[in-house]
Amino acid sequence: MDHQEALRLQAVEKYLLDELTTELRQQFEEHYFDCPECATGVKALGTFVTASRLVSSDEERSPKVSPHAAWAERPGGSTGCNQ
């Protein structure tokens, strides 16, 4: 797999969503270990997903601690950043 093929397949997003076939997953893994752009994408999205899970888990443990509870419904779709 080359970089153009990875882009065409939306491989980074499909990889993190576990939507690639076994063969394509193997091919993409071979590619992204060698491709700085795709490796950065996989790291960024992987970190985002993991951190999202932790943020949510933290807010479930102490729902009153954060006034900016990221997962909470915000009437009117506020941008939510008051800092």
Partner: protein, 198 residues
């Protein structure tokens, strides 16, 4: 988060006993090896064992005379070593276990969360918290269903009335937004959150 390409001078340095390159190698590949191995539903302990063995074998090769033949394909080499270690590890695991479902090793979700907690800095969590807060409530709920509740994707799409493509677009936007926070000093990154596209 960094954008990095390998060359001959890089792969020669650990062979010369250069500690900072070795540390960079471990940090850079530690993360992508972890993502690749966790995608295979391995326990945190097994992920760590395989990762450490991969590092040991790669560094041993670099220190040997001749090193590796194609320095520009160093990443592919690390990937191949890891796949070999993984295969050997799985072979040992299944050889030593009768293949009964109740004996199969499954990762403990609590241990995974604890391990993740160690890997993600408070600063990163704050960035993600702000990005999530910029999103439309429906998109936040969708991500929550996807990654926290780990619901079936088709069920999520039905529930939220979206196509599978929408999940990929949502992730792509989140990735772009998240990456943008690493291109700026922390103070500026805070100021950008109110102008997000999501």
């Amino acid at each position: 988060m960094e954008f990095f390409a390998f060359d001959k001078s890089y792969v020669d340095r650990p062979g010369d006993g250069e500690p900072s390159t070795e540390q960079h190698f471990v940090a850079y590949f530690g993360q992508i090896l972890g993502i690749m191995l966790r995608a295979r539903y391995l326990s945190p302990e097994r992920v760590d064992d395989i990762r450490q063995e991969t590092f040991a074998r790669v560094l041993a090769t670099l220190r040997r005379d001749g090193g590796i033949r194609q320095p520009e394909r160093f990443g592919a080499f690390v990937n191949a070593v890891c796949k070999n270690v993984l295969r050997e590890n799985m072979w040992h695991l299944y050889r030593n276990q009768a293949l009964q479902l109740d004996q199969l090793e499954l990762p403990d979700p609590n241990k995974i969360v604890d391990l993740e907690r160690e890997l993600i800095s408070q600063e990163t969590k704050e960035k993600v918290r702000r990005i999530l807060a910029e999103m439309k409530p429906r998109d936040r709920e969708l991500l929550r269903a996807l990654f926290l509740e780990e619901k079936d994707k088709d069920e999520i799409c039905r529930e939220f009335g979206v196509e599978r493509e929408y999940l990929r677009v949502l992730l792509y936007r989140a990735m772009v937004r998240f990456r943008s926070t690493f291109d700026l000093p922390a103070a500026n990154a805070v100021g950008r959150t109110s102008g997000g596209a999501m």
